[in-house]
């Protein structure tokens, strides 16, 4: 079958041996002269002369060299814009390379020389009709890339033609051209109908054209309430069915649509997952990660949360379990930059789904020649992977790192990670806390300043865990020694704390460190040299020791209190010392004892304030595969507002989401006894008038084109807030209910009015017709005031106080709203209810 061929050809790894390399030269040699020589005075004039002879030059290679020289100058940052008119003469050429370079020059200087650039419009337009698709595409790109507002009228027509070009290269260039046109003149895009064409072109046979359509639609529709391209079922399934055709960059574009899509039903969610499964096998980490994000977002739609509240969580764990090998493969295969980025994401996954990645912990061992930022990340991830089986190995590895790392900060990080395993409740299994404490105690004696200090701080944390009290006899011996050579303030303060904590064993009888007071006495003597954290720890420690060994400590404490009360550098410390002093002096020492000895109860589970809270993690997860994960904060906190995009999940017609349950709505409408008027809130759910018709017409179109597409989604069920027609209420009742809800829990919104009402009567009548009742109203010199209320059939009561400022030109009703929801059964969030009521008011007053 396959013939093995002899080894020893001496080829390096990635190139299979035994065969001559294709003729790729070094690229360094054999160039006549470097284009990057220093520019001398008058060289631009020289170039001008050369360019003037360009037309008569017969040697094409020399022609190229002349143009190349100009571009070389441009690259160096030298202004060659003076050659503009000469360069434009060179545009008439059949040499593609020259053409490209002139186009490059043109787009570079068009902004600064708009009138000259306009002169070459004709040539560019002519090139847009060239026989060669490459020339057509290039010319179109240059034309759109000039970025001159006055060019808009010249662009539209070639652009429109290009979208029907027979060659995909021209079409995809044209699609991108639309985006350029949009940034040049957003209004003209709206009137041109290009958006509709783009939606149609999502069916283009060429995958790269489709990808560009997605990019352009997303960006053009970015400011729409959808936060991007409108998606419906037909579009989504069409794109996903073609996923294999897209290259890795285009795959990411398609996959990024999935989190914005709500599957019609659970079955479809699983179907999408199956369609995406092959992407996990892609050699591209970007595509793999985008697929992981898509999977995680689908998790919410494929499980029934009503029967099992943790179903989503379970699903997510299953997903992480599934993608784990792919992620590990990508982490180990990629470059250090990719590794860094992937590890950031892996870290988030280990926090969201603890335990799933544990068995891969060896993949996260630090290698010395990795960049330090990768090493830190690995050290931070390792404690997340600790379980009773893996913890011993992980702790050993971290200890190894502490001893061998050249970077102090990395060694410290490793110490912190060891402590993190000990303080994470029961994560390391039985005995782990003690084993880690033992290692940290060894580090105390290591005499490497920063490491010892970090170890002390970590031990101070561990001693507060449930296992902590049992460790005191282990911690006690090196403390006095360690205090002598620790200078780093936080480490020193931690040792001071530990000295007081471990001076007596947890049974409170055995004295473990009899010399503790004398060790601290040295610090009292050199009080002035100590830093604030040490002083503060010293004060607490001394008071505690005083109650253990009053005889030895009395004089020392006296001196310390004197120092501290005379110390004006810190108000806090000064006051605390004074407080202790007075407590002792007024003969109430046992109260003080109770205060300073915290009773010995350990912190059951330590929450570090810097740890991510579950809600924050969810937020980050929503923005998976983005800079957000790198920085560990939601993008709204660091991306400039103009670039922020907030998308809505689509389509709204078939939501599985809670709170918009069709059946309950129907049953509410059913009984015709009471006449509750259902107000369809289309506006609320179909936020953009613009994309909605496009999407729907497109849907029909698509369905016609694809016979295998599923049946159209069910018609949108009218959903919204229903208000009871007859509600009565006494003024006193109103006031009581209003007063019962804190102002902090009220919602404030505004309702725009078409014109200033002439009297309160107008407003009251308009609102009453929509079942919003008026309790009281009044007209003041500068404003109208209204006290309103309304109630839904299921008992949610709205109390509204509003006013209209008569002095401002644009009439606006400021609404303060409180919701009384006795039932509390209502799944709709108060914010949503508020929005819905405001919608009704807006409608009523329009």
């Amino acid at each position: 079958m396959a013939t093995p061929y002899p080894n020893g050809t001496g080829n390096h790894g990635t190139t299979p041996g035994g065969m001559p390399q294709p003729g790729v030269p070094s690229g360094v040699s054999n160039v006549p002269d470097s284009y990057f020589t220093e520019s001398r005075k008058g060289e631009i004039n020289e170039l001008r002369n050369l360019l003037r002879g360009f037309g008569t030059e017969r040697d094409p290679q020399r022609k190229r060299d002349i143009i190349k020289k100009v571009i070389a100058y441009m690259t160096l940052g030298i202004d060659v814009s003076r050659l503009f008119s000469e360069m434009m003469l060179a545009i008439e050429t059949r040499d593609l390379v020259i053409k490209k370079m002139v186009y490059l020059y043109l787009t570079n200087y068009a902004r600064t020389h708009p009138e000259l650039a306009q002169m070459c419009t004709n040539t560019l337009q002519k090139d847009c009709g060239n026989d060669d698709p490459m020339v057509r595409g290039l010319a179109l790109r240059a034309l759109c890339g000039l970025q001159l507002p006055q060019m808009v009228e010249y662009i539209a027509e070639p652009l429109r033609r290009s979208l029907q070009d027979g060659h995909a290269y021209v079409r995809k260039t044209g699609v991108m051209g639309i985006l350029k046109l949009y940034h040049l003149d957003p209004d003209s895009l709206e009137s041109s109908g290009f958006v509709d064409i783009l939606y149609d072109m999502l069916r283009d046979p060429d995958a790269s054209v489709v990808c560009n359509c997605i990019i352009v639609l997303n960006e053009v529709m970015q400011k729409s309430p959808n936060g991007g391209m409108a998606i419906n079922r037909a579009i989504m399934l069409h794109l996903l069915n073609r996923i294999a055709e897209f290259n890795e960059f285009a795959k990411v574009q398609v996959l990024e649509l999935v989190p914005r899509y709500i599957p019609a039903h659970e079955e479809e969610g699983f179907q999408i997952m199956n369609l995406l499964d092959p992407v996990l096998r892609s050699s591209s980490p970007a595509a793999v990660l985008a697929a992981v994000k898509a999977f995680m977002s689908l998790a919410e739609h494929v499980v029934d949360t009503s029967s099992d509240a943790d179903a989503v969580k379970t699903m997510k764990r299953q997903i992480v379990e599934r993608v784990k090998p792919c992620l590990v493969t990508q982490v180990s295969a990629g470059s250090s930059e990719q590794m860094y980025t992937l590890l950031k994401h892996v870290k988030l996954l280990t926090e969201i789904c603890p335990g799933v990645l544990d068995d891969e912990y060896r993949q996260f061992y630090v290698r010395y020649n990795e960049p330090t930022h990768v090493q830190y990340l690995k050290v931070e991830i390792l404690p997340n992977l600790a379980n009773p089986d893996t913890a011993p190995d992980i702790v050993t590895e971290l200890a190894e790192l502490v001893h061998n790392s050249t970077h102090y900060n990395l060694a410290k990080a490793a110490v912190r990670s060891m402590a993190a395993i000990a303080t994470a409740h029961g994560r390391g299994g039985p005995g782990a806390v003690e084993a880690i404490a033992r290692r940290l105690v060894e580090l105390l004696d290591l005499n490497i300043e920063h490491v010892s200090a970090e170890a002390a701080t970590s031990l101070a944390r561990i001693v507060r865990t449930p296992e902590g009290p049992g460790l005191k006899s282990l911690l006690a011996p090196p403390l006095v020694r360690a205090l002598k050579y620790t200078t780093e303030p936080y480490g020193k303060a931690s040792i001071v704390y530990l000295l007081a904590e471990c001076a007596k064993d947890s049974d409170n009888t055995t004295t473990l460190i009899p010399e503790a007071p004398y060790a601290l006495e040295k610090l009292i003597d050199s009080y002035a040299e100590q830093s604030l954290v040490v002083k503060s720890a010293l004060l607490s420690a001394m008071v505690r020791l005083f109650f253990q060994q009053p005889a030895q400590c009395q004089r020392m404490l006296g001196r310390l209190l004197q120092h501290a009360t005379n110390d004006v550098s810190s108000q806090n410390l000064h006051d605390r010392a004074l407080f202790y002093y007075r407590m002792l002096k007024t003969g109430n020492p046992h109260d003080l004892e109770r205060i300073v000895t915290h009773g010995g109860e350990a912190v059951a589970k330590e929450h570090f304030s810097e740890d991510l809270q579950p809600e924050e993690m969810e937020q980050l997860m929503e923005e998976f595969d983005s800079l957000t994960v790198i920085y560990g904060i939601p993008s709204t906190n660091f991306i400039d507002p103009e670039h922020q995009v907030k998308y809505t999940k689509m389509p709204p017609e078939h939501p599985l989401a809670p709170g918009t349950d069709d059946t309950t709505m129907a049953s509410q409408r059913g009984p015709a006894a009471a006449p509750p008027l259902a107000i369809a809130m289309e506006q609320h759910f179909a936020p953009t008038p613009a994309p909605a018709p496009v999407a729907s017409s497109f849907e029909v179109d698509l369905l016609g084109g694809f016979g295998d597409s599923p049946a159209p989604p069910p018609a949108p069920a009218p959903t919204g807030l229903v208000l009871s027609a007859s509600v009565s209420m006494s003024g006193e009742d109103y006031q009581n209910k209003w007063g019962a809800i804190a102002d902090a829990n009220s919602f404030v919104s505004a309702v725009p009015l078409p014109r200033m009402p002439s009297s309160t009567q107008d407003v009251e009548q308009a609102l009453a017709s929509h079942h919003i009742q008026t309790m009281a109203s009044g007209e003041l010199a500068a404003e109208f005031k209204f006290f309103l209320f309304a109630q839904t059939p299921d008992g949610v009561l709205f109390l509204v106080q509003s006013n209209i400022d008569k002095t401002i030109s644009e009439p606006l009703m400021i609404v303060t709203l409180k919701i009384v929801d006795d039932a509390t059964m209502n799944a709709t969030s108060p914010q949503k209810l508020t929005d819905q009521l405001i919608e009704i008011m807006t409608k009523a007053l329009a």
């Binding site: 013939t3 035994g18 902004r111 890795e248 493969t329 960049p371 790198i630």
Partner: protein, 507 residues
Amino acid sequence: MIQSLFLLSPVGEVLIERHFRGVVTSRSVCDTFWEQASVSINHHGGVSAATSLLLDQQQHYDSVPPVMEVPESDQGTLYLISILRDGVSYLAVCPAEVSPLLILEFLHRVHNIFLEYFGSPADESAIKDNFSTVYQLLEEMVDYGWPLTTEPNALKGMIRPPTVMSKLLQTASTIVSDELPSGTVSNMPWRASGVQYSQNEIYMDIVEEVDAIVSSTGAIVSSDVSGSIQCQSHLSGIPDLLLTFKEPELIDDCSFHPCVRYALFEKDQVVSFVPPDGNFELMRYRIKPEQTRHFAPPVYCHSQLSFSSTAAGASSGSGKRGSGQSTFPPTSSDDKGSKTALTTGRLFLLCGVSNLSSLILSASRRGGPLVVEEVAVTIPFPKQTRSTSGFQVSMGSVIFDEAGKVARWNLGQMDASKKASLTCTFTVATTTSSGSGSISSKRLRSNEERMESERISAPNLSLSWKIPLASVSGLSVSGLTIRGENYRPYKGVRNITKSGVFQVRCT
């Protein structure tokens, strides 16, 4: 979306800049980047030198994370996503939320395309000499900040690489009439149409790379084997290939080149594909952990490191460590008064081929002795190393990179009968004060950084080696068939096992 792309030379000057969105990003962005990147240059005494002995993918500026922000540019906060390859920094400037991996992957692709076009290394001079091709390539690879055409074969259809032929014919006029791109075979963007070879051949290397950390006692701390199939295909027309394995169940997880029909692999565990032209990576795979659990490395390297301090200056702190062998590296003395303490280190290495290797040899290789090729040991000396002397080796040769403080011991071919040893001494200076006057950045002034620079650690050795016709997993090909074309190509398939990141700890 990429707003701008900058290529910086090894000294931080802008080689190429390209603005895709009609917005010109100020070059001050590069200054911010360079200010941070140059910290690591000073640190190691020249990054290009320090990385010369390292693998390509390990090049990086240690002080710059792949994603960094430029907070106060004139366009608000910008995000720089960067890679360093062949001494050239590739900076992508992004103003908005973006998938960082997508951008990184794109930058890698740009570099790979440069390698395809200009050969290796695609360094500063290659880019300068070919700048007009670079511009042409970027023009096709990015449109308005989004990746456009990135497949090497598709690009080659549009932009002719500066081949040897075109260099030779540079003056001839024929070359200028560039042939126009034939319509791309759009459902196979990786393959150009109309490829013709007089001799059709395809070569496949099943390469298994062993990443491992070995403790100083020779025990394996962690090991991982990742495999890949590297192909070189010179086949005419549109050949449809089918690759079958003897024991496909050995594969635990894998990823494929886009050309592979994934569904068929899932169903029948066969790799069916229309190959790209030229060099490409067909697939990557990981072996089931149970296959590698009993892996024994074929090469060992034992080390012995000892320090003896010779106090030069008023040092008192180092006294307590005494002289002779120590279990952990010495640190600088605590005594603030001391200026310089010189410590002499003595390193002894013993390197050999293990008889107990668990590798599975190809049939043609069985019976003979285990021969390991390209054996080399890289020794990163502590950064504070002042001088090295007395390199003595029983075989091979040593080169020492003064700036990067890295020595490389090249041993060449070895078998179990040979043992090689290396001895050397080096002096390490430990200073506690103001020795770093030449470093300009304020960042380094901070106490912690100063401490950072003082810690001396035992070097972690890295071993590299290669064993042809051997495999860790035993994965082998049972057949490679071609359909769709009538010719019978020459087919070559072989196994190679080599070191990936293979580190040996030294205490």
